[in-house]
C-alpha cells in the first residue's frame, strides 16, 4: 500500500504540494490527473524517495520513506519500478544492458543466462521485437524507448509500478498500445500502479481509480464513474475537453 499524509513541498517561493493526502491500495491502478506544472511528477518522485517532502509522511509497504536509511531505501526501491517520462535510458548501454539493470536482485543480475532470459521475456511483454536488445537508445523511436523503459521497470518483478506520463508525446495508436500494456501488466503481474497522466481517455481506460491534483492538493478521488458524476467545478472543467472520450472509455 502507498499512502501520503499531509505532504508539503515548495521549491523556493513556489508551493508545489500543499497538504496532499493520497493512498493506493494493493493491486489497484490509480491515475493521477492534473494540469501541467501542478506537481504530479514531483508527487511520484516523493513516493520513491527521489525528492524529500518539507513536511508530511510517505508510507510505502508499511515503511516511512523519509526516515529510511540509505540501504533500506535502496532495498525498498528494488520493489518499485519507475517508468520515466522520456524513458531515461542509459545512452551508452544497449537495450539489453538497460533492461538488465532493472534486475534488482544482485545474484540474478550477475547470472548472465538468467539475465538474457529475463530481458527477452520483458521485451516480449512490452511487444518489442527480440532484435531490439542489441540496439542503442539513439536508434529507437519515442514509443519504443517508452516501452524499453517499461521493460526495465518490470525486469526486477516489482510490487509497485510508477508511470510518469507514459503516453505523452506519442501518436494515438502508440498511446493506445502503451495504455493496453499498462492494463495488461496490472492484470498479468498483479502490480499496484500509480500513473501520472494528462490523457483523460487513457486514464479512464487503464485505471481502477482516479485522483485530480490541482493547486497543490488532491481535489477529487474516486472510480471513473464517480469522477464522471462529480459536480465539482474543477473536475468538470478538467474533464470538459475530453468528456466525450472519457465517457466512451468509462
Amino acid at each position: 500500500m502507498i499512502e501520503l499524509r499531509d505532504v508539503h513541498k515548495r521549491f523556493g517561493k513556489q508551493v508545489v504540494l500543499d497538504g496532499v493526502n493520497f493512498s493506493v491500495q494493493e493491486g489497484e491502478t490509480v491515475a493521477l490527473l492534473g494540469p501541467s506544472g501542478t506537481g504530479k511528477s514531483v508527487l511520484l518522485k516523493h513516493i520513491i524517495g527521489l525528492i524529500h517532502p518539507d513536511s508530511g509522511t510517505i508510507i510505502v509497504d508499511d515503511k516511512d520513506v523519509v526516515r529510511l536509511k540509505r540501504h533500506e531505501l535502496a532495498e525498498l526501491r528494488s520493489h518499485i519500478g519507475y517508468v520515466f517520462q522520456n524513458g531515461a535510458l542509459f545512452d551508452s548501454d544497449n537495450v539489453f544492458e538497460n533492461v538488465r539493470l532493472g534486475i534488482t536482485d544482485d545474484k540474478c543480475y550477475r547470472d548472465l543466462d538468467y539475465a538474457r532470459e529475463r530481458v527477452a521475456e520483458c521485451i516480449k511483454l512490452v511487444n518489442l521485437p527480440p532484435e531490439t536488445v542489441d540496439k542503442f537508445p539513439a536508434q529507437l523511436s519515442g514509443g519504443m524507448r517508452k516501452r524499453v523503459g517499461i521493460a526495465r521497470a518490470i525486469a526486477g518483478r516489482p510490487k509497485y509500478l510508477l508511470y510518469d506520463e507514459p503516453t505523452s508525446g506519442l501518436d494515438p495508436v502508440n498511446a493506445d498500445v502503451i495504455d493496453e500494456l499498462v492494463r495488461t501488466l496490472a492484470e498479468t503481474l498483479g502490480v499496484t500502479g500509480v500513473m501520472v497522466t494528462h490523457d483523460v481517455r487513457g486514464a479512464f481506460r487503464t485505471a481502477n481509480r482516479l485522483a485530480l491534483l490541482t493547486g497543490g492538493k488532491i481535489v477529487q478521488q474516486g472510480t471513473p464513474k464517480e469522477f464522471l458524476a462529480s459536480q465539482d467545478p474543477t473536475v468538470r472543467e478538467f474533464l470538459e475537453r475530453d468528456f466525450h472520450n472519457a465517457t466512451i472509455a468509462a
Binding site: 535502496a74 525498498l76 528494488s78 518499485i80 520515466f84 522520456n86 531515461a88 542509459f90 545512452d91
Partner: protein, 262 residues
Amino acid sequence: MATEVLALPRVVGRWFLNATSHVGRVAMMVADLVRSLNEVRIWLPRTFAEAWNIGVGSLFIVLLISGFAGGVTALQARYQFTGTIPIYYLAGVIVESIVLELGPVLTGLILAGRIGARYAAELGTMRVTEQIDALESLGRSPSSHLIIPRVLAGLIMIPVLTVFADVMGIGAGWFSMKLVLPISDADFAYGARTFWRPFDATYSIIKAFFFAACITVISCYMGFNTQQGAEGVGRSTTGAVVSSSVMILLLDVILTKLLLNQ
C-alpha cells in the same frame, strides 16, 4: 544611498553562503564516495574502462603541448642566459622548469579542459535526462556506478600522463637546445644532473595527484548537480573547467610553499 551601502555586504554575504554550501555539498559527495567504495564489483570494471579512455584519449594532446613547452623553455633559456652562465646550466633550468612546474601544471590545465568538461557534460546530461534518477530508482548507487570510476581513473591516469609530459618536455627541450646552441649530450646530462634532486620527480607526481583530485571531484560535482536543461549543462561544463583551472593554480602555490619552501 543607504541601499547602495548595503548592497556590497549583501553580495559578499550571499557569495560566502553560496561558497559554503558548495564546500558542504562537495564534502557530502566525497563522504558518499567513501561509503560506496565497498561495491568493488560495480566500480572496478568501469574504472578500467574510464582510465583507458582518458589515458589513451589524452596522450597525444598532452605530449604535443608538453613538447612545445619544452622547446620554448629551451629557446627562452638560451635568449635569457647565453653569455651570463655556463651553457650546461641551461640544461638544469630546462629540466627543473619542466619537472617542477610546466609538466604537472600544463597537464593539469589541459586535462581540466578535456576531462573536466567531458565529465561535467556527461553527468549533467544524465542528470537533466533523468538517467541519474533512473539509476537511483533501481536501488543502485550513482556514486559506485558513475562517480568512483571517474575519480579513480583520473587519480591513476593524470599522474601517469604527467610523467609522459615531463619526459616529452625534457626531450623536446634537449632537442631544441642542440639545434640552437653548441652543447653536447654529455654537457646536457651533466647540467641536468647538477640541479636534480630525486624528490623533484616525487614532487611532480604529488602535484599531479592533487590536480587530478581537484579536476575529477569538481567536474563530477558540477555535472551531478546540474539543473535546468541544456543551459544548465553548459553552465556546469564551463563552471567545471573554470573552477578546476583556478583550483589547480591555487594548489600549485600552496603545494610549492608546503613541499619546497619549508
